[in-house]
């Protein structure tokens, strides 16, 4: 899925959204949102009042128009949020175009069937150039697969049977070789289908917090309905006949239309923001839970440190020239294709000016690393015929090697190796025949900027736990360097699962990333489990999010998006409520200006008109127009989310109270006054 940045109000998004805004006037759609549903009823009542308006026709007509606009603006906001998802869904759907599959019978013969007929457990053969018909696991063969349809990443990935890279998604294309795939998800429930449903918002269910907020908004609506309905008998008592359109105007202004209109847009755009960062959530609930996370379990490798260890230092034995050690280390690593081996060559080159040399047989015989010997190196046939046998490996292995070649293990070197291990590095010893030359220090390189991210997380009250297979000593050193709060060393999948359960038992919400099949239980247990897209099907099923980029650091972004989502809801609710004060001061004096008036002077309540508005009609209209326009004005905020800066709850609350509480109190006074002036200038009242 391509994530080319689309501007918020791009024409290709706005046009369909405008049409959708009208389509969403359908009562069944409106009924999902109680606040907007009653607004629509109010608009309907006002429209009906047009027939009995008499002299007030112009005024009531404008009221009716703006009330309908209020509903349409709300629909438009939701349509805009959905529209951004729809564009992505269409791209995904293209990948799902009808395909045929070659199903394997039990006797191994192939049968051509439509992809839609595939059942769970079927085996299908897919050859180069063919599209994989359904989600599944590779059970035979290895192939390079183009997954750009799903991930947007054009470089092909390797998928092979067994291990952690066996999962394939329907809709992706095999580029080379032939694989046999066992179908794990039927048509309609596959990964791609879930993505489409998610981005389209078709299956979007309200999350717990959204439900609670909807109840609050509905109840506030009910209270304001009571306030406005009782105003009519109150008016009768005071001797003023309040018309339905005016009461409806007050009612719509008071009920929380701003947050009510934007609520679903906020939810959809939260998921949308995740998708933009190439994270697929299986439910909105997961996004919300991400904001509540207290503990992050992070795998060391790939998340906290760069994937591979790197040689950072050479420690020569006493009496050995550093250059000699560097030379031997480089020779031993020249044929070593592992990233660690390459980093040794680079270190020797950069620190000691030794250029990589071409060593060719018959002069040199490379000795590859094996699990049995636990060392690698090179045998050189020198010009003089005296062979050199250079090795690098673990302390034990090199110790044995030296002894076999008539030397003695060098205690100093062994001590240096231990020191390296204590500092969080991995020591590799280098020997030339019977002599230990020194130690290469391999170290995990902590990702740049990760320390600051953890500090930010700590500020918002989130603890980080590093998970690693390293021994406790190494783990402690890296943990200290990266600034995590705790670590789990020599971790097994069982320990990981136990740790999650322990944290949860103490009332914490846990988020983690994982990719392997053995991560699946932990991913399922975690409150937010982010599976890597490169991971196994089991892991992807167990988690409630999938990161298409397979970048575990993204967990931090996910947490931010979750927090921002809930924060936006709270901020707009506060704003919406604070707005009501100004609306009271605009509409109440307009309604009751005439009561208890003595001859020649306006009534006492006319003095509540602190904004000095032109006339009762202009005041009411200005309030209604403000109420409608503020929805449009806040659509960008709803779609982007409120500004998120990591800080403690107390600081965030203070800031948001000031901006959205105080701001919400003041803004409508200014807005309504300006609109009043404008309405008068345009001779609309």
């Amino acid at each position: 899925m391509t994530t080319k940045p689309v501007s918020l109000f791009a024409a290709e998004l706005v046009r369909p959204a405008l049409a959708d805004a009208f389509r969403k006037l359908h009562p069944r759609v409106l009924a999902r949102n109680p606040v907007m549903a009653v607004t629509a009823v109010g608009a309907l009542l006002t429209t009906a009042a047009l027939f009995t308006a008499g002299d007030d026709l112009g005024f009531v007509l404008q009221l009716a128009v703006w009330l309908w606009f209020t509903v349409l603006f709300a629909n438009f906001a939701e349509a805009m949020a959905e529209g951004r998802g729809k564009a992505q869904a269409n791209a995904l759907r293209a990948a799902r175009a009808e395909t045929f599959a070659r199903r394997l019978r039990d006797d191994g013969t192939e049968q051509r069937v439509a992809a839609t007929e595939l059942k769970q457990g079927d085996r299908v053969a897919v050859a180069a150039g063919e599209t994989i018909p359904a989600d599944g696991d590779v059970i035979e063969g290895i192939a390079s697969v183009d997954e750009s349809a799903v991930t947007g990443e054009s470089a092909p990935v390797i998928r092979e049977s067994g291990g952690d890279r066996c999962a394939v998604s329907g809709g992706t294309r095999v580029l080379s070789d032939r694989i046999v795939v066992r179908v794990t998800a039927e048509r309609g429930q596959g990964f791609l289908d879930r993505m489409i449903a998610m981005v389209e918002g078709a299956r979007r269910q309200k999350t717990p917090n959204e439900l609670a907020l909807t109840v609050l908004l509905a109840a506030l609506t009910l209270i304001f309905l009571l306030v406005c309905v009782t105003l009519r008998p109150f008016g009768d008592y005071a001797g003023v006949q309040l018309s339905t359109p005016v009461l409806v105007a007050l009612f719509v202004c008071l009920i929380p239309t701003t947050i009510g209109a934007l609520l679903s847009a906020i939810g959809i755009s939260g998921i949308d923001r995740l998708i933009r960062r190439n994270v697929m959530a299986t439910s909105g609930r997961a996004v919300e839970a991400a904001g509540d996370v207290d503990v992050l379990l992070l795998d060391k490798t790939g998340t906290i440190t760069l994937g591979n260890r790197v040689a950072t230092r050479l420690v020569p034995a006493t009496g050995v020239e550093p250059e000699r050690l560097a030379d031997a280390a480089q020779l031993a690593s020249l044929a070593d294709g592992t990233p660690e081996g390459r980093s040794i060559v680079v270190l020797a080159k950069e620190q000691y000016g030794l250029r990589g040399r071409e060593l060719t047989a018959p002069h040199a015989t490379f000795v590859p690393f094996t699990a049995a010997t636990r060392m690698s190196g090179v045998d050189l046939a020198d010009g003089g015929g005296r062979p050199r046998r250079i090795r690098k490996g673990t302390a034990d292995a090199i110790g044995r090697f030296v002894t076999e070649h008539g030397g003695r293990p060098d205690r100093e070197v062994l001590a240096a190796a231990e020191q390296v291990a204590r500092d969080g590095g991995t020591p590799l010893l280098v020997a030339d025949g019977g002599r230990m030359l020194g130690v290469i220090q391999l170290k995990d390189v902590v990702k740049g900027g990760i320390r600051q991210r953890f500090a930010q997380l700590r500020a918002v009250g989130i603890r980080t736990v590093m998970i690693t297979g390293d021994n406790p000593l190494t783990a402690a050193a890296i943990a200290a360097e990266a600034g995590v709060d705790a670590f789990l060393a020599e971790a097994t999948p069982e320990m990981k699962l136990q740790r999650i359960r322990d944290e949860q038992a103490q009332g914490r919400l846990v988020a983690m990333t994982g990719d392997g099949t053995n991560d699946a239980p932990a991913l399922a247990q975690a409150d937010v489990g982010v599976a890597m897209n490169t991971g196994t099907q089991a892991a992807r099923e167990a988690g409630n999010m999938v990161d298409l980029d397979s970048n575990p650091t993204k967990l931090l972004d996910i947490v931010e998006i979750g927090k921002q989502l809930i924060m936006t809801r709270g901020a707009l609710t506060t704003f919406s409520m604070a707005n009501d004060v100004a609306k009271y001061f605009a509409i109440l004096p307009a309604m009751f200006a005439a009561i208890y008036a003595t001859a020649g002077a306006p009534g006492p309540l006319a003095r509540l008109d602190v904004m000095g508005l032109h006339s009762p009609e202009s005041a009411i209209l200005a309030a209604v127009v403000f109420n409608a326009l503020i929805i449009v004005a806040l659509i960008p905020l709803a779609l982007r989310g409120v500004a998120y800066r990591p800080a403690s709850a107390a600081v965030v609350l203070r800031r948001n109270l000031l901006i959205y509480g105080l701001g919400g109190l003041v803004a409508p006074f200014v807005g309504i006054k300006l609109l009043d002036l404008l309405l008068v200038a345009l001779h609309l009242v």
């Binding site: 009571l226 009768d236 904001g291 009751f592 003095r607 109270l657």
Partner: protein
């Protein structure tokens, strides 16, 4: 200046006394240790209660026990009032009461409201006053304390909320009775009558025979003030020289009005183990109380409107409807205290307060959580807290939590329901009576002031306050039935719903708190809570306020 000293004396004195009393309340209501005197009392109460005090109850059973107990009390009180002409302790031969008045009075005292559509000295026998009304003044207040104790236990995370029948005995015999004895003794020392003899017949200097009513006043008054009951022995309540003879009894009475509601907050804090949170809540209530006191006292320094244009000295404030022995400041001060809490006793006529001063008691009853009724004030505040926590919690970017329990749809639903009920009773009732002869036919004033009278009556009933704006002929069948129903509904709905919230929170898994969770013990949260209370209150009641006191005020300001 005198007014400021008086405020300091009363508010400062009550605050200082509330702290140790809160500690005592915790000891009495929710004993921690299994031995010691509190536990011995516990065994005694369980023995008295028999089978009813068996197991501890969850929120549902607790509410059922509470309601059942109150239904029985309602029945007993109704019977005593209905049969008073045949019962003993009736030296002045009081006659039978009208049916709707019996209903109203029983509802009023069962619900801790003490709205009085009768005058005690005219209509009620000593038996009715003591056995029916004073008894209810004890147990209705005890019901409130018990409910708060149960709610606090739920919020402390305990799966069962305790046993109502034990709690109500603890509150009656360990809290209210001893305090009432102390206060009554002090009142007798202050010159208050305490007798079971009938009225005195005296011949005045002019030779006219005068009947001077008296009775067991000190006993009645003590629990009337302490239990936020407010129902007077005499019709004029604490303006009557026997019910409030001197400055001394006046100060003591005012302190007694706010004392237990204040201590309830501390008890809540101690049971949930969050004293800093309780301090923030207390501070919010105190800020509201002081703001209202300052406003009321200041506005009452202006002369009454009838005198405003007259060429007379205007520097003594509005003395209309005040007792001269207390002056212009003690009246509004009491008016604020009695309506902030749900007491409802008066020492001046609220009808005669300046219009804006009259708005302050109304606001007190609308919010009904500025200390509020004994126990129930804190329960009402809890409803505001739930809503404040919900909105503030979202603003910090987390699913809202309160005391480590997640606040979700069920809690929000129950909280706003309680809020809506209060608004419905006040606005709905006022609307009904403002446009029908039921209300308009009983008014003695027209215009905005008449509107305020209707509004006040329903506010008082719904807040379980019981004070009257007066100027209203309220002993009619419609008024008796309507306010009687409102008092009962407005009493039990706001007790049952918060208990349900506490019960459902108690079942939730406790969450851990961190720097990212909303702290409810900071000044920032206090501001949020204050804003929530003011906004919800103002947005709901502003139009009614504008049509009543505000319109009346603006009418006279040139």
């Amino acid at each position: 200046m005198d007014a400021i000293l008086l405020i300091l004396l009363i508010v400062g004195g009550a605050t200082a006394l509330s702290w140790p009393l809160g500690r005592y309340l915790r000891w009495a209501m929710d004993p921690v240790s299994l031995d010691g005197p509190a536990a011995r009392f516990d065994r005694l109460f369980r023995a008295i209660g028999g089978r009813t005090t068996g197991a501890d109850q969850d929120w549902k059973r607790y509410c059922i026990a509470l309601l059942a107990f109150n239904v029985v009390m309602f029945g007993v009180c109704f019977a005593v009032l209905a049969l008073q002409q045949w019962l003993p302790l009736n030296p002045d031969g009081k006659e039978a009461l009208e049916g709707s008045l019996i209903f109203n009075t029983t509802a009023s005292f069962t619900s801790n409201t003490n709205l009085q559509h009768y005058s005690g000295e005219v209509s009620l026998s000593y038996c009715s006053q003591l056995a029916a009304l004073m008894w209810l003044q004890f147990v209705s207040a005890a019901t409130g304390i018990a409910a708060l104790t149960a709610m606090a236990r739920g919020l402390a995370g305990r799966p069962v909320l305790g046993n109502f029948f034990v709690d109500v005995q603890r509150a009656t015999f360990l809290v209210l009775l001893p305090l009432a004895v102390v206060l009554a003794t002090a009142m007798v020392c202050g010159g208050m009558p305490m007798t079971l003899q009938g009225a005195v017949k005296a011949t005045t200097l002019e030779g006219v025979e005068q009947v001077i009513a008296r009775g067991p006043l000190a006993a009645f008054l003590a629990i009337k003030q302490l239990g936020t009951n407010g129902g007077g022995f005499f019709g004029p309540n604490s303006t009557h020289p026997f019910e409030n003879p001197s400055f001394f009894t006046n100060v003591l009475s005012t302190i007694a009005i706010v004392l237990l509601p204040m201590a309830s907050v501390w008890m809540f804090g101690r049971i949930v183990g969050r004293m800093r949170h309780a301090t923030v809540v207390f501070a919010v209530m105190m800020a509201l109380l002081l703001a209202k006191l300052a406003g009321a006292v200041a506005w009452e320094q202006a002369p009454t409107q009838a005198f405003a244009a007259l060429p007379i000295a205007q520097d003594i404030g509005n003395l209309e409807g005040k007792e001269l022995r207390f002056g212009a400041a003690a009246g509004p001060l009491w008016a604020v205290a009695t309506t902030c809490t749900s007491n409802g006793s008066v020492n001046c006529m609220h009808d005669s307060l300046n219009p804006l001063t009259g708005l302050v008691p109304l606001a007190g009853m609308w919010l009904n959580a500025t200390f509020g009724g004994v126990g129930v004030g804190m329960i009402n505040m809890f409803v505001y807290i739930v809503l404040a926590v919900f909105v503030a919690g979202m603003m910090v970017g987390r699913t809202p939590e309160y005391l480590q329990r997640r606040v979700e749809m069920r809690e929000v639903k129950l909280a706003v329901l309680a809020m809506f009920a209060h608004a419905l009773f006040i606005l709905g009732g006022t609307a009904l009576f403002a446009c029908t002869p039921w209300g308009t036919g009983t008014l003695n004033n027209v215009g905005a002031h008449g509107f305020s009278e209707i509004l006040y009556e329903f506010s008082s009933a719904s807040a379980n306050n019981g004070s009257g704006f007066e100027g209203l002929g309220d002993n009619t069948v419609p008024w008796n039935v309507a306010t009687g129903l409102v008092m009962l509904l407005a009493r039990y709905i706001p007790i049952v719903l918060p208990l349900a919230i506490a019960g459902s929170l108690a079942k939730r898994r406790a969450t851990a708190s961190s720097a990212g969770t909303l702290a409810v013990d900071t000044p920032t949260f206090g501001v949020m809570l204050l804003a929530t209370i003011l906004f919800l209150g103002a947005l709901t009641f502003f139009p009614a306020a504008a049509l009543g006191p505000i319109a009346e005020h603006l009418q006279f300001i040139k």
